[in-house]
């Protein structure tokens, strides 16, 4: 038997003992009871899910085929695919799309790289590892709105602490506009997004590292492999599926990015940090074009849905393994 073949133990079917009632009726009662339990436990959650997730999603999808200013339901006007045709010619939308792709790729590289390096480092059980795990996780639990407010102020050239800090350590040439410079604003948002989220991905990787049997590392050491070779040939192959899932999660979260951009820059300066979510929000809630805003967000929904589907399939495959 090869090492990755597994044996499945199936419990033997029990024969009902005499005098325990008719088997069919007992099984039927058990099934009915089980169904009632399922309804009781899943019903409320399902109800909330349908009311607050599926109905708005379906509503957004249907509204995307309308021209609706959002003032009165009588004003809903069915326009078919017009909003999507307009999106195809909307320069700001495509610019937002490119920004999303930049943030997505950047977030995958930075978050995965940082999370992996730190997870491997903290897995060495060096002194202070537990402390640093907590420290690195901390930004993850802070609300993104708070992060955006604090760093938005901190990065202000007039009132912030970042430029004075650069000048204090002799790096004054790098000080300047951060969020007002079209060339700097997206990288800054990417860095903040990474700072606020890598801790979670690091924990996912640490959880997987803990599950790797010690014997594999010991066997590699006996075979003469150093620390780096062990990581490269033993640890990383075993982390591959977790890394893939982490990258998919990062991609999904990056596509949905809203709070950081909305609070720190509102998509500016002059759309230089606009992302699909903020453009859809602007169209729907500020420009009173709910139909067009919904169409914008439907595109985002489709992109996220594709990634989520890949993620779920990957997750199922891992379960099957």
């Amino acid at each position: 038997m090869s090492s990755n073949q597994m044996t499945t133990i199936v419990p033997e079917q029990q024969t009902p003992s005499p005098g325990s009632g008719t088997p069919d009726r007992t099984a039927g009662r058990r099934d009915g009871h089980r169904k009632r339990e399922l309804v009781a436990f899943l019903g409320p959650a399902l109800g909330f899910y349908v009311a607050f997730m599926m109905v708005p999603l379906l509503g957004t999808f249907l509204i995307s085929f309308t021209d609706w200013p959002g003032f009165s339901l009588d004003q809903i006007d069915w326009v078919g695919l017009d909003n999507f045709r307009e999106l195809a010619d909307d320069g700001v939308f495509w610019s937002a799309f490119r920004h999303n792709i930049f943030l997505l790729l950047g977030a995958i590289v930075l978050n995965t790289g940082l999370a992996l390096v730190l997870a491997l480092a903290l897995d060495q059980h060096l002194r202070g590892s537990s402390f640093f795990r907590g420290v690195f996780l901390m930004p993850t639990v802070i609300s993104l709105v708070v992060v955006a407010l604090v760093f938005g102020l901190g990065l202000s050239p007039s009132l912030g602490f970042i430029n004075p800090a650069f000048e204090a350590v002799g790096l004054g040439r790098f000080a300047g506009e951060w969020l007002g410079d079209p060339d700097r604003v997206l990288p800054m948002i990417l860095l903040l997004d990474t700072w606020s989220s890598f801790g979670l991905y690091m924990f996912l990787l640490i959880a997987r590292l803990i599950a790797i049997p010690k014997e594999l590392r010991e066997a590699a050491a006996i075979d003469g492999a150093g620390e780096l070779r062990t990581i490269w040939y033993v640890i990383l192959p075993l982390l591959r599926s977790t890394l893939t899932m982490v990258m998919l999660l990062i991609a999904i979260n990056s596509l949905k990015m809203f709070e950081l951009v909305y609070v720190m820059t509102s998509g500016g300066p002059n759309h230089a940090s606009e992302v699909i979510a903020t453009w859809g929000y602007f169209q729907g809630f500020t420009a009173t074009r709910v139909g067009y805003g919904s169409a914008t967000l439907v595109v985002l929904l489709v992109l996220t849905f594709i990634l989520a589907t890949i993620y779920v399939r990957k997750f199922r495959m891992q379960d099957d393994l």
Partner: protein, 435 residues
Amino acid sequence: MTRRASTRRLLSTSTAMLACGALLASCGLAGGDDSGGSGSDEVVFWHAFTAGAESGAIKSILDGFGEAQDSYTVKDRGIGNEEHFTVVRTGLAGGSPPDLVHYEGYQQTRDFAKAGQLLDLTDFWKEHEDKFILKESAVRACTSEGKIYCIPYTFHSGFQMYYNAELLEAEGVEPPQTFEDFTAAADTLKDAGLTPVSIGAKDGWPAEHWWMNFIVQRCGVAHVYDVIDDKGAKFTDECFLQAAEDLAGLAEAGYFPEGASSDDYGAAISVFASKKAGFMQTGSWYAAELLETPTEFEYGIVPFPRFEDAENTGDITGAVTHVFGIPADAENPDGAKALLEHMLTDESTATWAEAGLFSLVDGAVEQNGPEEVMPLWDAVLKAEASLPWLENELPPGVGEDAIYNGSAALVAGRMSPQEFVESIQAALDKARQGS
């Protein structure tokens, strides 16, 4: 009914129901104590007076209403300025409006009225119009297709500049009377290593207000309305370009701080209040705020400096900023009217004016306004015409996108004046094609 029509009707109905559900779910307005609707003796009032002088003044007025009569009780809900419009629009569209609603008038009046969301208050206005001054501005803010849908309450002027008197004195600079005086003063402050002008253009409108103060001098209010009302004029006309060049010139001269395009209005206030800048241009609401939270230094206010060669010398910027409407689906319109009547009493308008707010009821400011704001009010009364905030008169895709983003880019020196005016006209043309 044909099958096609039936299908369309089914689709529309389904969409309407889902849209309602989506809006209610997304904005958390489904149910809840603060949503609209009221008992017969309760008046639900939504407003955006959540901070500063307005907050205290509206509380006093509502308390006064409770003491003056026994028929109604008021349940008010303050909503932050940024989300106010979205909440109001959702409340009206979702069928759960308050009985009385505060909003900003102009385009909002036309949009709400077109959707059948507001009661016609023409008769109420006619009963009370003798009390009001600046009637032309007031009526424009509340009119849609010849009917009046709201009652104007406050006027805010945008045609002034605040200055740090101590800083100017230390540098030997006199408060400017003309624009040429202003640039000379700004040069002096800049040479002294100070920031001449505090501005937070991230929000768009602070930079737009600078441009508007140039527009009223270069073009005049009538010319601007020729563009707004599509009477042959365009934002690409020479005077609008000149006004954009005036603003870009200030940026090129280095009068604005480095964070001009990324700081918001609050940051600009902080820069001014922390003695880092000599001047700041903003609305008369700041004068009311200063009464409540004075600066640590002596400040002064001057009318916005005019160009010596300006063609229009009698126009200013400023608008009716607070209006009150009664939603068509209000459960208690009589209670709302009773509250409106109370808000127009001498006692209420005095309370409003004492807080430094420009009540539109005749005599209220003159008799009760603090002396600090009186020069601003005098300038309003002397003005030949006033230009409301452009975003209130134009579709949001023009005002809150092209003008906000463009004027912030002008201040940051990242857009040319020509590109700026062309982008605004292009946005306006696009909006007109869509409507």
